[in-house]
């Protein structure tokens, strides 16, 4: 027992670290959020979220982040499933191919999308070459969503794939033996058993998508104002640190709220499955 206590002191430096580099900075943000530029107490920076401009951009962020998450899930699940069912020895290599793009700087990759999607870009050249009408997509919300899907897709594929590989194949075979068709097996066995992966995938995509500002800067052409952009601009252009901090706190609360909703879903489904 004493040994255990001694060992737990190994976390000591980290505890100190958390205090200084995680808790203290948050207190700073909170301090700025609850004061005016002259230093007196106020709640205005928090209630500022109710201003139409901020509400609008928060709502837009939620929409874009939600859409991004759904599209990622729809694309990623089949990928993870196919990867899982691949009958080759070198699966690790294929999985790694999904992470590899991350080793090329992400801003450059988003920039490449600008070149692909622009009015006279690669995509439209291909479309007109095969006789299809060209599309106007760059500098729209769709382009921002596409950029985010592109950026976050690996974060959805990997957890789902990991969850799938933990499923005991015999369970699925047993279901088939008992006469379940493919769809039943999929909905009743595969999906519930990979739920943890799906949930962590959703979190890993939704949270950064909600607060992202670089993608919308590059693919939104200054026309798409997400809450991340508002916060960034309060700290840079408008240099209203108090308002920026206030909105950051709201964003944090929002993230925590959606996390707890997600966890609720998790619990109830867990209960259901046990029955």
């Amino acid at each position: 027992m004493t040994n255990k206590i001694k060992t737990s002191f190994l976390a000591g430096p980290y505890a100190l670290w958390v205090l200084i580099c995680t808790i203290l900075p948050l207190l700073y943000i909170l301090g700025y959020a609850l004061t005016t530029s002259t230093g007196s107490f106020t709640l205005e920076n928090l209630t500022a979220i109710a201003e139409p401009v901020h509400l609008k951009s928060l709502w837009l962020s939620i929409k874009v982040a939600f859409l991004t998450t759904v599209i990622c899930l729809v694309i990623a699940y089949p990928v993870a499933l196919i990867l899982h069912n691949l009958k080759i020895t070198n699966k690790g290599f294929i999985v790694f191919l999904f992470i590899l793009p991350m080793w090329m700087n992400f801003m450059l990759r988003i920039l490449a999308w600008q070149i692909i999607l622009s009015n006279n870009g690669i995509l439209n050249s291909i479309l007109s070459a095969i006789g299809l009408p060209t599309i106007h997509i760059l500098y729209t919300k769709s382009a921002v969503t596409l950029g985010m899907v592109y950026d976050f897709l690996p974060y959805m594929i990997l957890p789902i794939y990991n969850a799938l590989s933990k499923i005991n194949d015999q369970v699925i075979e047993a279901a088939a033996d008992l006469g379940a068709n493919w769809l039943t097996t999929f909905t009743k066995i595969t999906v519930p058993l990979s739920k943890d992966g799906i949930l962590s995938g959703i979190i890993m995509v939704f949270v950064p998508a909600l607060s992202s500002f670089v993608v919308s800067n590059l693919l939104g052409g200054g026309k798409v104002l997400l809450i991340g952009n508002v916060i960034e601009q309060e700290f840079t252009l408008a240099r209203n640190w108090n308002l920026g901090s206030g909105l950051s706190i709201i964003l944090m609360i929002f993230v925590l709220l959606s996390m707890s909703i997600m966890n609720k879903v998790d619990d109830s489904e867990n209960g259901g499955m046990l029955v």
């Binding site: 060992t7 069912n85 290599f93 490449a112 950064p208």
Partner: protein, 261 residues
């Protein structure tokens, strides 16, 4: 039927890969473009590759990036591994508090983390390269902890105690029993910290000092004003390097697994 299904699966995978790699292809093509503009094809050239080492700005940024990435991920790994061990042996209530705090940087928006660290640093230390290293450690430690902890949890307590009963010193028992088990977690935590630090822009942007540029922050200012084509060349090289390196590791790893069987 299965053949059709197989074909369809491969087709689908191919499409997703096309989606993921199309921009990379574009960038590789740009690295051979003999024009300063990214929208004009000025003919094939190798000059951006040949000029690369002569471009001091880019070489500086590369050096800074490597220094920051390596030092922050190594330090984060040491800090995170010892923290994970400590947390594992803590009382449950304390462990829960520590884990809650560990979750904060993961859940927080990058921009909030970056700004809050900037607010802290500007009070106590001049912004520079060191502040960026601290910031990178702050956001990558959680990845290390969450990679090491599951390994510890699946570790059988009995082995360690048995070793102790047999007269091993705690350090010896740790090295012989615990370390080999958690090492893969430490390694993957390290690699994750490395990747995150390499790709980070937002947090670096807010915590860097004057004249300190990583490849990411350098790119951000250049995105608007036109990118120096040498950067495409450098990125292509780094990308291919990572590809070859991981190919080799993967090949070796597979070989070892085969041998085990």
């Amino acid at each position: 039927m299965t053949k059709v299904k197989k074909g369809a699966s491969y087709f689908y995978l191919g499409l997703v890969f096309l989606f993921l790699y199309a921009p990379i292809l574009v960038l590789i093509v740009l690295s051979f473009n003999n024009s300063m503009s990214r929208t004009v094809w000025g003919g094939f050239t190798l000059k951006w590759y040949l000029n690369l080492t002569a471009n001091d700005n880019i070489m500086d940024a590369l050096g800074t990036t490597i220094r920051i990435t390596l030092s922050s991920s190594i330090l984060a790994t040491i800090l995170g591994t010892s923290a994970a061990i400590g947390i594992h042996y803590m009382k449950k209530r304390h462990a829960a508090i520590m884990l809650g705090a560990t979750n904060i940087p993961l859940l927080n928006a990058d921009i909030v983390t970056g700004i809050s660290l900037m607010l802290l640093f500007t009070r106590f230390t001049p912004l520079g390269e060191f502040s960026v290293v601290l910031a990178h450690i702050a956001f990558s430690v959680p990845y290390v902890i969450f990679n090491v902890l599951p390994r510890l949890q699946s570790l059988s307590e009995a082995c360690y105690e048995a070793a102790m009963d047999l007269g091993a010193t705690p350090a010896y028992a740790f090295a012989k029993v615990v370390w080999p088990e958690i090492f893969p977690g430490v390694l993957s935590g390290f690699l994750m910290a490395l990747t995150m630090s390499l790709d980070d822009f937002t947090i670096t942007y807010f915590t860097k000092g004057a004249g300190v540029n990583t490849l990411s922050t350098m790119l951000y200012t250049q995105l608007r004003k036109g990118i120096q084509p040498e950067l495409y060349a450098l990125s292509t090289i780094l990308f291919l390097l990572a590809f070859v390196l991981l190919l080799v590791i993967n090949y070796k790893g597979e070989g070892r697994k085969e041998a085990h069987k």
